[in-house]
Amino acid sequence: MTEASPGAVVTAVSLEVERAGRRVLGPLDLTVRPGQGLLIAGSNGSGKTTLLLALLGLLPLSRGSLTVLGHPVGSRAWRQRRRGVGYVNQESVQTTLPISAREVVEIGVCSARERRAVLAARVETAMERSGCLHVAARPYRDLSGGEKQRVAIARCLAQEPELLLLDEPTASLDPSAKDDLAGLLVALNGQGISILTVTHELGHLGGTGWPIVELEGGRVRAQRTQS
C-alpha cells in the first residue's frame, strides 16, 4: 500500500468505495496539498458526494488507502483530528429545525473542550470572517441561500479547520450570491485553508483559478488547470 504524500492534507491511493455491492467510486488517486484549492466536477452519480463522505469517514473504503490530515481515515489518530475538517453539505440547507444562525455556528465548537467565553469568541470571529455576524440572531430557515452558505462556512471556521469540504455550495444560489461565495472561498483559501469543492456547475467557481478534477462513473476522466 502506498504511503501518504508527505505533508499532504488528503492522499487517496487506489481508493474504491462500494455501496450495496456496487462500486460507485474509484479506483481513484488524489492529493490535496496544504493551502490548495481544488474543484471536483461531474454530473449526478459521478461519485462526487461519495468522495466527500469517504473523506469524512462516513463511508467505509472497499479498497485502497485514504489519509486525511496525515492520518488514515478511521484510525485513532484520525478520530482525534477529524474536527480539523469542516463540512458544508447540501441537505442541512433545507432543514426545518428551529435553529438560529448563531446556534448553527455553535455546532462547530460543540465538541471543543475550552472555556465558554473562548468558544463564544471563536463563534463570533468565525461569523465575522464569513460575513454573517449581522444575521446571528435570525432563524436559519429564514435566511437566503447565500446567507445560509456563509453561516455554514462560519460553522466550519469555528472548528478552526485545515481542510474545508463543500458539497455543491452554489446550488440554489442566485448569480450574485454565487459570485460572493466564490470570492469568500478564494479569500479563505488565501488564508491557508485547503478547500475541496465538489460541484456539477463550474460556472461561478471557475473564477477561483483552482485546478479541476472531472469525475465520471466514479473515476477521474480528466484533470486540468484554469488559466
Partner: protein, 269 residues
C-alpha cells in the same frame, strides 16, 4: 370533591407531583421523536410497553420496570439489526410492533389478566402509581435532564444534521443509540401515567406546539417543556373539577393547545 382538598390524599398528591415532573421533562424526548422522525418507532415502543405491562400484570411484577426492560430490548434489537443486515427500519419496526402486541394479548389471555387492568394499560392510571413507580419516574426524569442539558450542544448538532455533527467531532452513532434508549424508556414511563393511547399528550403534542413558535433550538426545548407542564397542570385540575380521568383531561388540554397554537400561527404568519 373540592379539587384542592383532594390533594390531601397521598395517591392524588403523588399523581400530581409525578405528572408535573413528567409533563415538564418528557416533551424533551418528544422533540427527538419529532425531529429524528421516530414516530413509527414510538408506535412499536407503545406496543412493547403493552407487552411489558401485560407480563407484569400476569406475574405480579412492577409494570414500569418490565415495560422499560422490553422497550430497551426492542431498541437494542433495532439498533443491532440495522447495523448488521441493513434491514429496513420500517420493516423491522412493523414486525416488532405486531409481534409484541400479539404476544401481549397471548399473555393477557393465557394468564387471565382482568379486563380492567388491561384497559388501564391503554389509558393509564395516574392515581394508582405506587411510591416506587413515582420514585422511578422522577429519577428517570432526572436522568433525562442529566442527558439533555450537558449534551445539549451535541444533541442540537445531531438534530441539525448527523453528518455535520460527525464532522464537528460528535459520535453521532452513539448519541443516536442513547436517544433511542431514552425514547424507549420515556414511552414505558409515560404509558403508566397516561396510557398507550394518550401517550402523545406528553410526548409529541408539546414538541409540535413548540415548533410553531421556536426561533432557536434552545427555545424549542424550553417551549416544549413549558407546554407539557401547562397541559399537565391544567389537565390535572380539570380532571378533578370535572371528575374525568386525568390522562384524558391532560390529552384534551394538550390537543387544545395544539389547535390554538396552529390557529394563532396561521393568523400571525
Amino acid at each position: 370533591m373540592n379539587a384542592l382538598s383532594a390533594l390531601h390524599y397521598a395517591p392524588i398528591a403523588r399523581g400530581l407531583l409525578v405528572l408535573l415532573v413528567a409533563g415538564a421533562v418528557f416533551p424533551l424526548t418528544g422533540v427527538f421523536v419529532l425531529r429524528l422522525n421516530l414516530v413509527t418507532l414510538r408506535f412499536t415502543l407503545m406496543h412493547g410497553t403493552m407487552l411489558g405491562a401485560a407480563i407484569a400484570l400476569a406475574v405480579g411484577a412492577n409494570q414500569v420496570l418490565l415495560a422499560a426492560a422490553v422497550n430497551v430490548s426492542l431498541v437494542a434489537l433495532i439498533a443491532l439489526s440495522g447495523r448488521r443486515n441493513g434491514l429496513g427500519a420500517g420493516t423491522l419496526t412493523t414486525f416488532l410492533m405486531v409481534t409484541t402486541i400479539g404476544l401481549a394479548f397471548v399473555v393477557i389471555y393465557r394468564f387471565g389478566v382482568p379486563a380492567k387492568d388491561t384497559l388501564a394499560i391503554l389509558w393509564g392510571n395516574l392515581f394508582a402509581l405506587t411510591p416506587v413507580d413515582a420514585l422511578l419516574t422522577v429519577a428517570f426524569a432526572g436522568a433525562t435532564l442529566g442527558f439533555v442539558l450537558p449534551l445539549f450542544g451535541k444533541l442540537r448538532a445531531l438534530l441539525f444534521s448527523p453528518e455535520v455533527a460527525f464532522s464537528a467531532g460528535v459520535n453521532s452513532q452513539a448519541l443516536q443509540r442513547a436517544i433511542l434508549a431514552f425514547v424507549g424508556l420515556t414511552v414505558a414511563f409515560a404509558v403508566r401515567l397516561v396510557g398507550a393511547l394518550l401517550l402523545d399528550a406528553l410526548l409529541l403534542l408539546p414538541a409540535i406546539v413548540a415548533s410553531f413558535y421556536a426561533r432557536s433550538t434552545r427555545q424549542l426545548f424550553v417551549l416544549a417543556s413549558l407546554v407539557g407542564l401547562t397541559s399537565s397542570v391544567l389537565g390535572f385540575f380539570a380532571s378533578l373539577w370535572l371528575d374525568i380521568p386525568a390522562s384524558s383531561a391532560v390529552t384534551v388540554v394538550a390537543a387544545a393547545l395544539l389547535g390554538a397554537g396552529f390557529l394563532l400561527r396561521r393568523r400571525t404568519s
